[in-house]
């Protein structure tokens, strides 16, 4: 089982680190992360709303962590595709929470889905589905 420190170590670098993405919790095959408000993350059309980009980044790394969680270790992988439905605008006064789940690994492809919300998962900001290519998968 991957532990919290391993996940947090992966969040300190690069884009994830600059966004300030933080660990919330994880379990077998799922992970929860969060991103806190900053004026730099505002939408171009309305400064009171989150831009769509940070939501995409949060869900990309959250679902990636879910793959680590199901594998039990940090793995080398790259996003193959990511689909995001932006269900409602997000208020920049509040953080965005992402919950990601890896529900299947088939060979070298990991299948993920997730939800972004602002405290009420029944009222989501965004819904995502995607796949990752695993670089260190063993051919079955």
């Amino acid at each position: 089982m991957i532990d919290r420190e391993e996940i947090e170590a992966g969040l300190t670098q690069g884009h994830n680190g600059r966004l300030g993405i933080r660990y919330m919790s994880h379990g077998g095959g799922w992970a929860e992360l969060a991103i806190d408000p900053d004026a730099c993350f505002a939408s171009g059309r309305d400064a009171a709303l989150w831009a769509s980009g940070p939501v995409a980044s949060l869900m990309d790394v959250t679902t990636s962590c879910a793959v680590w969680a199901i594998k039990g270790s940090i793995s080398h992988q790259a996003t193959l595709d990511l689909r995001i439905d932006y269900v409602r605008p997000a208020n920049l006064l509040q953080p965005i929470f992402g919950r990601g789940e890896c529900y299947r690994i088939a060979g070298d492809v990991a299948f993920v889905r997730g939800v972004a919300h602002q405290g009420d998962i029944a009222n989501p900001v965004a819904s995502v589905a995607g796949t990752f290519m695993l670089f260190d998968a063993v051919a079955s």
């Binding site: 730099c40 769509s52 980009g53 980044s57």
Partner: protein, 128 residues
Amino acid sequence: MKSSPYADWLHISVDQINGRHVVQMNPGDHVRGRPGFLHGGAITALLDIAAIAAVQVALGEENPVIAELVNASVDFFRGGKMELSYARGNVLRLGRRIANVEAVAWQEDLARPIAMARMNFRLLDRPR
């Protein structure tokens, strides 16, 4: 062309060159994903900004309508290296309420893109 705080934070610029808009993203730690490569979320944002620019050009700069992203479907073809990245949007259909747009991102060679996206935007009247 009007920028957004997040585009500025990503070091993404939108310029007009020879009548075409050119969107580019400067590499740096702020957009790094796994070591040596761009973060998928940063590439997605680059494509999003290029798509919006294409919609704004199609609508005309004087048009008060603004575009709100409804959904995005992004395919990643190859890892984005830590180099200058470019993106361009193309409006497939411009309706009264919806704009359907595709966007492509590349680095050294447009013929070898790093990612492509399709994005659908809801067109809203600006508040007066």
